[in-house]
Symmetry: D2
Subunit: 376 residues, 4 copies
């Protein structure tokens, strides 16, 4: 079987998730290729070596440039901080590597576009880590929509709210600076729900947004008595229109008290509605308007083996899958995409489209107007 | 005890609710005045008489002008179709009657303003039937906010969605015509959630809306093969800003499959969040961010005797109150307001403010821009 | 229309509920008779008179014997403490009055049987206030079962749990003494769920119970430093078998922390399941096993106008009814039963059957054995 | 690091779960030993070899006796059909192997006792696959109880209900025969909830059960027109008493329409209550009676990094873990137990105790009496 030699850059929060998914993917899914954990890059040789041992990689380096140019690497998997995605991806593409990058693809749409175009020009394959749409439950949502079970979509309401910066005493970190994060909640969180909206309803064409930095200053992490400026938005809301004419609203916040994994969506169609919360990632609410009126109601579907990609994890319904399992589906797509030409999506093109929507939201919020995303 | 002699105009859906509430109010609450069901008006003498018997009114008439000018009437209670509110209220005010009108106060803000000004000029008392804010559970929400339990409000998300026109085969009725309804979902439904936003967060100052008539034609009620134009919006979404600086989003729809009484709100503060759905009108979700991190979570409060106005119905918690009980609280406010000067709110001033917001939303949706509600 | 002249004894917690229901019943329902609030009895003349005014009764007395023998009374409505039910009911029956008694019918099955037999012998009509089965939602549950929508019933799980005595510092009151209450949680709470089991599934024929007085002593209400003995059970659980062969389990507790109105049931059939909690009294969960496997799930039905007795309160679905509305349905049944011969159920016969089950549970718990309820 | 060489017997439903857990465990947890997938046994050489490749085992065999006696095996992991557990475990113990067996440990308590005693005599370590108690959420439940946060436990209600045999047309399979399964729902499902009761509350000492075979005959799997006898119970309910005096009720069913993973528990204490459903395996309901009365309610805790064993999977709260992750915790316990002497529980002793309770329930249901589990 064809080998897919992985070079992983970055082993923080999301790098570890990748490692867990790599570890289990071949046991969960019958793959069309063989993932090989070839090389890992971290900021120091010691950390790189330690993590290579923990994650099962053969080699390690403190120099990511070495990794992206290594002839034994087929795929560069970028889990480094967001502001480095562009440089790393372009270098990898330049060396003819396939690239699997975490979201957001870049700090702004212009950079994302440059990356997507470079990949297309070089003919390499790409994948962006919008893992929530890989959840069997959200795949089921799409299947229900595609089947026409809820009719034509007329409205989408989506959120990605969390509360990791709700406490004003939480010190300023990289999330809060333009140089390292670009946008705030929009870039870190809304990227997921915009991608989900694209996945479930179709492309967003017009936006009109509002946003706010509610906590304007935060303690310096090293000197808490010093207050430093927060440079990007804590929360944003946006009216959207989709290419197919549907209306929608998307909201995001990093200060939404009580939301731990607040990616939610309600998709309303002419014949029914689906409703979902990522905090209950193994269930979907489905309403069908064509049922007898006295027996209408939202039905709680528990994700199970008759739904996409669930049976590989467990053949009983209602037994739940977890956060890392979504990454495992994503990596299955990566391996099968590279070795067998299976569809790899969301690719850099989609990563750019998401960035384009996010930038348009921010601009529209600054200029207090509607923006046509496509023409912009 | 001072008598409050009621003249009720209209006995349809909401008129019956008023009648039920009048029937029970004096047993539920220790009132400061004595409601007397004096006269009832309907479109024919027969119907008027029949309903007077059913509802316990002493006299009846098919001529509402007779009712508003009758010297034995203290309060004119308007449950007639929306397009008649203005004419009836102005006539009642002109005769020096207090006026208790169903929502929406009028078909547009200009009319509502005229009504509010007439009442102020004449010195009569007014009340608008935005009953959902009378629910003890929403009163509790306000109490929690007023206490500072969730800190400063930073975000409001509210909906009033129903699905009574979701089926495209439902014939066109008065809701769909500008002459009889003015706005569509905004006027019929969003009026409630805008009032609720005012009640919980404060005045809305700026709006930017979007709206759509999804089902553009409907069968004529008398000749179903004939299709007639729907003249107002099926759904609308709007970004709002409050006087206190909070952001918000409000949505409304009359074609939202599955929503039977979809008035919902999520109020996010700097220290916590409350979440509510009118379909579970006796419970409130409360999250406090200052709890120990490992024990944080949304708590389900069941409305009970320690919460406002509940104990009058039942002295045990969790025993639930119903839709008509909200009206009973409202009528308690009416009687005590007229006889003892207790606060009567939402009054015509608030009815006008709500209309002003709704008109601004519609205009902003047509002109694709933000509108300052106050200066407009 | 035939008058039904009511004599109400007792105006505490539940007496007030009756009063509210009497107040609204004729407006809510088109009745077949005319309820007349004739006389009210309380423990002192002052209190009796005050309550008569509040509740709208014409006359009052401090002597209930006077009430039960008054020729102008058609129905004696007993809301007095439980230990007085028997004496009052027998006196009323003796005077040929119809009797409407609160639950539990009596302190033990022998007394209840005597009452049922006296009523039968005298030919008077009876009704017991098991109001929860009057809720449109539970009526819907029965309709679903009767329709065969969930097949043959194979299992019933029911609870009536509350936490009003959860705090060990709550002083001893009448609930805790055999002389005034008879059984503890079984008599006060489980009476409702046993009646509900009869209503939904059929007669209980065999029981095997367990019970416990968890908090064995409580402070004397007048002298808190003095501890007094709790004489009856705080919690009980029981295995049951129904006449139709179904298995079941019923639990009750007055110290179940967190349960405010914890009447719940899950009824499992060969083709489906229904699930209900009185704390969400306007919704029912329904599961149908014959739906396509990938779309199976519990559906949340919101009670609405197509369900029994709801439309009289409100013609829109999902608008909720409240605790007192159940009593209103009950009183509708009372009036129509007496004047038009409509079915009045649960009658004293059912009140006795419930008592018989409760006594059998207690005996079985003491003797650690199964008991045949019917032969007992 | 010390190697722990695994010999896996059986690769069906649960064998695959083990394989997935072995694959990810070393990446998820910092282990104290190194699991080595040494040998795998299946019924034919071909299947054994195929699965060894899929699961990453070095060697394979169609002869499990060969595996249990192989000198290069440290732990025999038994995922074979239940009726084989005893023979295999005794053989493995006899060869001095540590044994990790799936539940139920054996078809009856006598066999389980023999196995536990053999292991003790030989000095080998044992573990039984009651994986649900390894879920961080149930570990949190135990932590809350152990902390005294809900006071002394007074009541336990637990279920393990599923609906895999709800359809009477589902052919008879091994679950339904005494020879292959022993007990029915009790053995297959209730084993888990009895273990959970032991884990959360303590040992069960007395039981009084009821049980039923509802669907008495099922089609022969090979000849559907032939009906064959179902030999064990479809559903059972049981009253229990715990060593610490608490009361409880446990129910189980394999025909409970709508339950896909219906392991649930409600633990009531003198100061609070916890409530859990495995279908929402990443959340726990917690009620504290000592909160201010007007703010009491059940709080939804989302499992997160401050709760036991969650952070290894993900450092953000509310991101959910899945079914296989529980097995991963279990295998972490296995590896660390064998190499570092960490506690390995539930061991064969507990497996036997669970079997003893299950047998006592069945006996008590047949003899219609209470049974003292310990003295039995």
């Amino acid at each position: 079987m064809q080998k897919v030699r992985i070079g992983l850059i970055g082993t923080g929060y999301i790098g570890r998730c990748h490692a867990i998914a790599y570890a289990q993917v071949a046991t969960v899914f019958p793959l069309k290729g063989l993932p090989v954990l070839e090389m890992l890059a971290e900021v120091t040789p010691e950390l790189a070596q330690q993590r290579a041992e923990e994650f099962g990689f053969s080699r390690s380096t403190a120099n990511w440039q070495e990794l992206v140019s290594d002839p034994a690497i087929d795929v560069v998997d970028i889990c480094a901080p967001n502001f480095l995605h562009k440089e790393m991806a372009l270098a990898a593409i330049n060396h003819g590597k396939h690239v699997y990058s975490e979201k957001p693809l870049a700090l702004n749409a212009a950079d994302a576009k440059e990356m997507a175009e470079a990949a297309r020009a070089k003919g390499v394959k790409t994948l962006v880590g919008f893992n929530y749409m890989k959840n069997p439950t959200s795949q089921l949502a799409r299947e229900i929509i595609a089947n026409g079970e809820i009719g034509d979509i007329v409205h989408f309401y989506g959120t990605h709210n969390e509360d990791y910066l709700a406490d004003p005493q939480t010190p300023l970190d990289w999330h809060c600076t333009k140089a390292q994060a670009g946008l705030g909640a929009l870039g870190d969180l809304a990227a997921h729900i915009v991608n989900m909206a694209h996945y479930l309803v179709g492309d967003i064409t017009n936006v009109c947004g509002d946003m706010q930095t509610v906590i304007k200053q935060r303690p310096d992490p090293k000197n808490p008595s010093l207050l430093r400026e927060v440079e990007n938005e804590d929360q944003a809301s946006v009216l959207v229109r989709f290419a197919n004419g549907a209306m929608g609203t998307i909201e995001t916040s990093r200060i939404a008290c009580g939301r731990k994994m607040g990616l939610t969506y309600v998709v309303t169609g002419t014949k029914g509605t689906i409703s979902y919360s990522q905090e209950r990632m193994a269930e979907l609410q489905l309403y069908r308007h064509d049922e007898p009126q006295s027996r209408q109601g939202f039905k709680t579907l528990l994700t199970g083996p008759l739904h996409p990609d669930y049976a590989a994890f467990c053949i009983s319904a209602g037994h739940s899958i977890g956060f890392n399992d979504q990454k495992t589906v994503e990596i299955r797509d990566l391996i099968n995409g590279i070795t067998a030409g299976d569809r790899m999506w969301p690719d850099f093109e989609e990563g750019w489209k998401v960035s384009r929507v996010l930038d348009a939201i921010a601009t529209s919020a600054e200029e207090l107007c509607w923006i046509n995303v496509v023409e912009n």
